[in-house]
Symmetry: C2
Subunit: 371 residues, 2 copies
């Protein structure tokens, strides 16, 4: 194993268990800041880790703006001391009342939410007005992923105008998530991101021409944030997520990003069912299963391992080196997709300089904390 993944004593670590290598995590945070030049331009997404302690590390480095997808994540951010939170999720149903409650509970926190449709905008405005509070709303733009948002164009102008005219709401800018921009080739990705920016900046100019304020443009994801950051525009806030912990998936997708996986899963062999097979305690209740079965993790110390079966608590691999392993032997696995992996764990073991130095709760894996 690479020396950066040394753990002096694993005997007390329950497996399967997530390990955060704190030195690597801090390196990733520093690289993230270097790529944008100024921590004030960053708005990292906490869904990747859902941990208060990582937020506090980020705050200590000057990263004061943060992004969330759920109210539990937003509450975790507020509890960790964040004063500027973008809940990049269109509110419907009980989430409208939760937004009111959040504004009342943390009146000194700037909370921006997103919207792309008149009905929730109307409901949100009515709820805020009834409660005597206000909330900032970003217009959610569809830049090509076709998941949420309006395409830049006349309907987007009209909806932004509606937000600005709705009592209880403050038109606070644009939300530009471009998850579709995951071209492996950096030049191709840059071209695609700049095309998105061209459309978005034209829309922004038009909104301003019509007398509207567009104070911020919350833009980009791990693959595109360095490109958005290079655009000379003080209103752009960039939103990396995965690279805080990094993983195999984004490592392969974005070879230009020099982050190091900082969250691995400690797993043990529990059976050797055949001469070429090893069974690990690494089921899909402990490591994310949105990638294909054969691609859910990589073992740096067993690169030829080929997953042939995974169940809830078991991962069976084939390897030419299977005979070197027996029950109880340990390996570290790098998840292909770390964000849904961390959400599977109640807490993580934190290692620095080879020593276990802490345990952190994955606080926001619960979808409801108190709001």
């Amino acid at each position: 194993m690479d020396a950066c993944y040394q753990i002096d004593d694993t005997s007390q670590i329950i497996s399967p268990g997530m390990i955060i290598f704190k030195d690597l995590l801090e390196d990733n945070l520093r690289k993230m800041i270097e790529l944008v030049g100024d921590p004030a331009r960053l708005r990292p997404h906490c869904k990747t880790h859902k941990m208060r302690e990582i937020i506090q590390l980020e705050l200590s480095l000057g990263i004061v703006k943060h992004k969330a997808a759920t109210f539990a994540e937003a509450e975790m951010l507020a509890e960790a001391g964040v004063k500027d939170i973008c809940l990049a999720y269109n509110l419907v149903g009980p989430n409208i009342a939760r937004a009111v409650e959040f504004r009342k509970r943390w009146p000194d926190v700037s909370l921006q939410v997103t919207a792309d449709h008149p009905t929730p905008i109307e409901q949100l405005g009515e709820a805020m007005t009834a409660a005597g509070v206000e909330i900032e709303v970003l217009l959610d733009l569809n830049t090509g992923q076709n998941r949420t948002g309006l395409e830049p164009g006349p309907a987007a102008v009209e909806l932004y105008q509606m937000i600005a005219n709705t009592p209880g709401l403050i038109a606070a800018g644009l939300h530009v998530y471009d998850g579709q921009n995951h071209q492996v080739d950096f030049q191709e990705r840059e071209t695609a991101v700049l095309a998105v920016w061209n459309d978005v900046s034209q829309l922004r100019d038009q909104l301003i021409t019509e007398g509207l304020k567009v104070p911020r443009i919350v833009a980009g994801a791990t693959g595109s944030f360095p490109i958005f950051a290079k655009i000379d525009d003080p209103d752009i806030e960039v939103c990396p997520g995965t690279c805080v912990l990094h993983d195999v998936g984004y490592g392969e997708l974005f070879p230009d990003l020099k982050f190091t996986p900082a969250a691995l899963i400690l797993t043990r062999v529990i059976s050797r069912p055949g001469p070429d097979r090893i069974t690990f305690d690494l089921g899909y209740k402990a490591i994310a299963s949105d990638p294909a079965m054969e691609n859910r993790c990589r073992f740096p110390d067993l690169p030829d391992a080929k997953a042939v079966l995974q169940n809830e608590e078991h991962l069976v691999v084939m390897s030419q080196r299977a005979n070197e392993f027996q029950p109880g032997d340990e390996l570290l696995a790098i998840p292909r997709h770390v964000c849904p992996t961390s959400a599977l764990h109640k807490s993580v073991t934190v290692v620095s300089g080879g020593k276990v130095v802490d345990h952190w709760n994955v606080a926001a894996r619960d979808r409801f904390i108190s709001v």
Copy 2:
């Protein structure tokens, strides 16, 4: 929606949220008992739901033997009052000390664990002896899944003898999980299960001939338990799991099993990004992603929905009826695989007769409770 899935008032239910329809759950438990004739023959697997309240329902129906895969699940069972627990998982690493702790904490609970290799058997025996306690060990058999266990044969006899001879351990029988027997055709499945039983019963006879005791054979899964239950052998304990809640996957795989999905996910539309697209708040942090993306759930009230994109908090479907939906509209989704789905939720909303009657914690989704 089918009347059995009526919820009178959903306005306070946060989405995505798991709903347990208690009347259907109780029907499933009754059907499970009917299929085996006597609740004493059952040893259902709690990994499907991980909830104390379901265990207490089962206990009230006379189901006194239970099965678990993790120490958190076993602890939840013991806390719920279960006195006979099979932890069907081969112990390595810190789990050996956890077994000692468990035996000390609940000395009146019969705990059986599984083993398939000399090294952990030796370690477990030493740990138990040092602590002055004993533990029952089932020999884990490989009946064709090639995941864990030894094939019935001479090596299995030798290892069972080793268990019996190891101080601190009590040879307690055989563990026969046959997850490979998922033939859709019942006759084919029955033939395969009876072939497994033929090998296992021959092994059992041989062990007895050699003077060993084989007090129990813990056998089968949801697809095979009715077949094992029909075998006239008082030592067989059958282990359905999924059918307690049931899901789309086992509904299609086992058409002979007349259970009804009792755990659904309430989801809301958050966007309509295009004339034929609906985006639900149903990402793979709320519904299991081990099935293929297009197969992760079924909407009974939108049968033509075809999933085209799923991310952590979003499910985008195409439907010819998309124009009938707008943000805030609700649907219920039946998970394809309910077991890893319930593990994604901290708690569930319990509905009976259309009313919300309770909230249950998914207690054992945490991998560590106190042992």
